[in-house]
């Protein structure tokens, strides 16, 4: 047993060193797509239950949407004010976190043309979709093996001629 002590010590040093390399101030986020709290953008009252254990929506079989996807489609169909105009084509994505209580927060917007390059839609389509997403309250809270989870979700709107033609994923 005594002979294994130096080996255990070396392993522990390596472990600490590897953890050190994974520090919070790394230019790499803990996970691709992590959304850090931004006081300028985010509701300070929105709490994430366990930031470090937050998962992605696709990790669970349970749908994020109460009433499945048709409920989300219906919600946007009834409320989105489309603008019939040429040139307003592309994708608008709203990314956010749904916490362990089924509340959504930390919303981020990405607007992209059909060429997959960043673009600014005219006619405030993006901000309108962002606000509607913020107001949607039909998210499922996810409990897996008795454990509640926070998870990242996104909604992507395919826009053609100023109208929503698909809601993804």
């Amino acid at each position: 047993m005594k002979n294994t002590y130096p080996l255990v010590l070396i392993l522990m040093i390596c472990l600490v060193a590897s953890c050190w390399n994974e520090s919070e101030d790394s230019p790499y986020p803990r996970q691709v797509g992590d959304i850090a709290f931004d006081a300028a953008l985010d509701d300070p009252e929105f709490m994430v239950c366990n930031e470090k254990r937050a998962q992605q929506y696709y990790a669970f079989r349970t749908s994020a949407f109460q009433g499945e996807k048709p409920a989300v489609e219906q919600y946007f169909e009834e409320r989105f004010q489309g603008i019939e105009t040429d040139g307003e084509d592309g994708y608008i994505t709203v990314r956010f976190i749904i916490n362990c209580e089924g509340k959504a927060g930390r919303f981020r917007l990405q607007e992209m043309g059909m060429d997959y390059k960043e673009k600014q839609f005219e006619h405030s389509i993006g901000p309108q979709l962002l606000e509607l997403t913020k107001k949607f309250d039909g998210w499922n809270s996810i409990v897996h093996k008795g454990q509640p989870y926070d998870y990242y979700q996104y909604l992507t709107f395919k826009i053609q001629g100023g109208k929503i033609t698909e809601i993804l994923p």
């Binding site: 994974e22 790394s26 790499y28 986020p29 803990r30 996970q31 691709v32 797509g33 992605q56 696709y58 990790a59 079989r61 009433g67 499945e68 996807k69 048709p70 994708y91 994505t93 990314r95 990405q110 992209m112 059909m114 997959y116 390059k117 960043e118 990242y152 996104y154 992507t156 395919k158 698909e166 993804l168 994923p169």
Partner: protein, 273 residues
């Protein structure tokens, strides 16, 4: 059926986990790429800090290592950052178009319903190779069938039907889990109920564990006025759906997927009717 599952599993396993023979670089005296190859895939779980750092290290050592761009891009795709996904994915395609065009085309369909873009990539691949272009990443479809679904998405159902019919005539082609489902739905939408029933029954023979097949089969019988068969199949679809046998893709919503409200609407109609 069992053979199909085994084939698909082996195909998926091979694509997902096959490792390149790093000795190729050694034989070429390319030490840096050899080191990169040995490092590749050793960074930890997909999308994690350590994994992304590791792919960057691989790229730094060997900037032509196309798989590193491809693998580094994947979590961006799955998490809805399509701008960054595309930047990295394009690099992989630029370095090895024959290897990555099919994947990029499939993802443009699966994640973004970018039908035109997906067709463009698949057809570009077809023009580059003289062998079978193969299946999409999750093995759900042959890329030809995926192309047909893109045409349907664009509103050209006739073209979709033509591609699927032609593809299924290829004798060496193993029937997929959903090919006849989509074929059946295309016939159903055309009002060709008898052909829809034949196609959907062919799918059930291959894949009995899908509520969607029975739902559409029910609708086809309804179209023919065979109401008892309609009711029987809608009830079966409902039972299967409630037991988690609905079509499922963790990342996106497949074309022609049914939801509980679709079945319940029919169920209610039956009660009223």
């Amino acid at each position: 059926m069992k053979q199909l599952y085994i084939t698909l599993f082996l195909l998926f396993y091979t694509v997902a986990y096959s490792k390149q023979n790093c000795n190729i670089y050694k034989w070429e005296n390319n030490t840096e790429c050899y080191k990169a190859c040995r490092l590749y895939g050793k960074g930890g779980s997909q999308g994690s800090r350590s994994s992304q750092k590791n792919y960057d290290r691989v790229i730094e050592l060997c900037p032509t290592y196309d798989d590193a761009y491809w693998a580094k891009a994947i979590p961006y795709l799955k998490r809805g950052d399509f701008i960054n996904w595309r930047i990295m994915m394009d690099k992989a395609v630029e370095l090895a178009p024959e290897k990555h065009l099919g994947y990029r085309g499939w993802c443009r369909y699966q994640f973004l319903k970018d039908y035109e873009g997906a067709i463009e990539d698949i057809e570009k691949l077809e023009s580059l190779v003289n062998y079978d272009i193969g299946f999409c990443q999750n093995s759900d479809y042959h890329l030809n069938i995926a192309k047909a679904l893109c045409y349907k998405g664009m509103g050209d159902s006739e073209k979709a039907l033509e591609i699927i019919e032609q593809h299924l005539m290829t004798t060496e082609y193993p029937i997929g889990l959903y090919d006849y489902l989509h074929l059946g739905v295309l016939y159903l939408e055309k009002g060709d109920y008898s052909k829809a029933i034949t196609a959907l029954n062919a799918q059930i023979k291959e894949n009995d564990l899908l509520a969607d097949n029975y739902y559409y089969l029910g609708l086809a019988y309804k179209g023919l006025g065979r109401m008892m068969d309609y009711e029987k199949n809608i009830k079966k679809a409902l039972e299967m759906y409630l037991n988690d046998y609905g079509r499922y893709d963790p990342y996106s919503t497949p074309m022609d997927k049914i939801f509980l409200e679709d079945i319940k609407r029919e169920d209610k109609e039956m009660e009223l009717g």
